[in-house]
């Protein structure tokens, strides 16, 4: 007797079919002897790092990183949340966010302004060694929607949110991008897996709603 739920089975079958499968012969199959395995792994890691970095640079895959570097290089200054809100960027009105997140006491709000673009960076923390950094920018792209890498795709009140999660073991991090008209927002958070990780999808959605609501206020 099959105790499985047929409706769920259909949902799972559809989803599983949509997961692309690499070729069985698509990855190197060479075996290493147990004695040499450690050395080979270390050497491979170094080679992957070198080759991967070169390839990524060549194809401009680090563009977001370099943009962030340029933003930092432009020079930012700590401001109050109220002053940051005068930029017109969508920002929350309170220093606290749902889930126990609160702005650091000092230097938690960083404003960078040039004639072409403006960014505001907010740094939050909450108990349990969790941290969160939210960058809101206009006039400069934090991400390219056509090329952004993601593992989850959320739609929150019509806003598309690209979510990627890293190191899904003891201390995972999550990164989420979304755009509100000509403003782009990046959320980056980390937190220990034992304490539930940094942010759930529902918590990300809640943050998106706060930013979206503040972008439409009169």
């Amino acid at each position: 007797m099959n105790d499985l739920d047929q409706t769920l089975q259909q949902f799972v079958d559809r989803g599983a079919r949509a997961i692309p499968v690499p070729s069985m012969t698509g990855r190197p199959a060479a075996r290493r002897s147990p004695v040499r395995r450690g050395a080979v792994v270390a050497t491979s890691a170094l080679l992957v790092l070198l080759l991967g970095s070169t390839a990524a640079l060549g194809q401009n895959w680090f563009s977001e990183v370099f943009r962030a570097g340029n933003i930092s290089a432009a020079g930012s200054r700590p401001v109050s949340l109220a002053e940051a809100r005068t930029t017109g960027l969508p920002l929350p009105s309170s220093r606290a966010l749902p889930g126990g997140w609160a702005l650091h006491d000092r230097g938690a709000v960083q404003l960078t302004r040039t004639p072409e673009w403006t960014t505001v960076n907010l740094q939050y923390d909450r108990g349990g060694k969790r941290g969160m950094n939210i960058t809101t920018a206009s006039g400069v792209g934090l991400f390219d929607p056509s090329r952004v890498r993601y593992q989850e795709l959320l739609t929150v009140d019509g806003v598309t949110v690209y979510v990627s999660r890293e190191s899904p073991d003891a201390f995972p991090a999550v990164r989420a991008f979304f755009a509100l008209s000509d403003v782009q927002v990046e959320i980056w958070a980390f937190g220990p897996a034992l304490a539930g990780g940094p942010l759930t999808s529902d918590e990300i959605a809640e943050l998106v709603r706060i930013w979206a609501a503040s972008s439409t206020r009169p």
Binding site: M1, N2, T7, A16, R17, L153, D169
Partner: protein
């Protein structure tokens, strides 16, 4: 073998392995399967169980490769389609034990006893977890669990 490989691979990804880690773990499992071919009754189940254990044992490597994880994925394996993203999102919301049981039962097609052996838990735990996680997923997906709540799952 290709079909068994695909089923085991999708099961690993759905269980939480990154696509490159799933492919690596399966590569090892395939090589082991070739050495034990005569004694394997269900290749997909066998590959999944062996690869799942290997992936769990080597998960620490994820830390080493974490900064490059996106690069490896970008190069090797295309992202899942919309239905795949939906499935993975729902599974990620489950605790790991429930997720692994659901994957073993629904994707890989293991029986309760095979799932129990694969995950190192009791058959009764597999049954209860299957019912609980199934109900949770059905509720999230907007469906109703049509079976009577007292309907204990049978071992197959």
């Amino acid at each position: 073998m290709q079909e068994s490989y695909a089923r085991a691979y999708r099961g690993l990804v759905a269980a939480g392995a990154s696509p490159p880690d799933a492919a690596d773990a399966l590569q090892d499992a395939v090589e082991a399967a070739l050495r034990h071919a005569s004694s394997i009754e269900d290749p997909a189940a066998w590959l999944f169980v062996v690869a799942l254990r290997r992936w769990k044992a080597q998960r620490w490597r994820a830390r080493l490769f974490a900064p490059l994880e996106w690069l490896r994925q970008e190069n090797a394996i295309p992202p899942p389609g919309e239905d795949g993203v939906l499935l993975l999102n729902e599974l990620r919301r489950l605790p790991s034990r429930e997720r692994e049981v659901i994957v073993a039962r629904y994707i890989v097609g293991l029986s309760q006893r095979e799932t129990a052996d694969a995950l190192g838990i009791a058959v009764g735990t597999v049954g209860a977890t299957t019912v609980h996680a199934t109900r949770k997923l059905r509720e999230r997906l907007g469906g109703q669990d049509e079976r009577p709540r007292s309907d204990a799952p049978a071992v197959r």
